[in-house]
Amino acid sequence: MVFLRSEGHLHRWLEATGFEPGATFPVTTLHDLATLWWSSRLDPEWRPRSVEESQAILDRVGLQGEFWRLA
């Protein structure tokens, strides 16, 4: 889960590392995801989230499709 400056940097990084391309998206989406995913982490009443609840968060920020299936 990395930051990249631009599409050009992404392509060069994938070439250099040999990684199969995964999913690329704007950091604004990641910010939305981080806010929804982590904002309850320090709540005294925190409980583990179910797979369905986690999947719903990914869906809500538009991260959908096979790559984003948790189970």
């Binding site: 930051f3 990684f19 999913a23 690329t24 704007p26 950091v27 990641l30 995913w37 982490r41």
Partner: protein, 148 residues
Amino acid sequence: MDTFDLDVRRGVYSHIVSAGGPPSVAETAVTIGCSADEAAAAYRRLHDAHALVLFPESLDIWMANPFCFGPTPHRIIAAGRMWTGSCAWDALGIPAALHTDGLVESECACCGDELELEVVGERLVRGADVLVHFVVPARRWWDDIGFT
């Protein structure tokens, strides 16, 4: 996850927020009022449940996501401290978890050039043109969380 493990987890996170780093098993045992063996067993169960990540072959806490206690390129200034995020996602998760503004100092994975992102009032006000790449599909995130 039973009540005891939830108490241990809550104690771990409280310690992280107040002290800036994770508690040892011995510190957690004192906080919770249990034996060191009971605290150690809870750490292992929380690790297995992905509620904490321990360093390999150790009872030291590596990650209590989004907080990380090993070296990464992601530094976060928030709530008067410098934190480390495990990954891009966790870097932005630290201001979210702390419900505060934050400055993320990171780097482009390609060239190592510094990147800064700033969160103010839960809005990303700097660095919004940066891209994010996930190599590992969601189903396999926990196969090797250090790599993920």
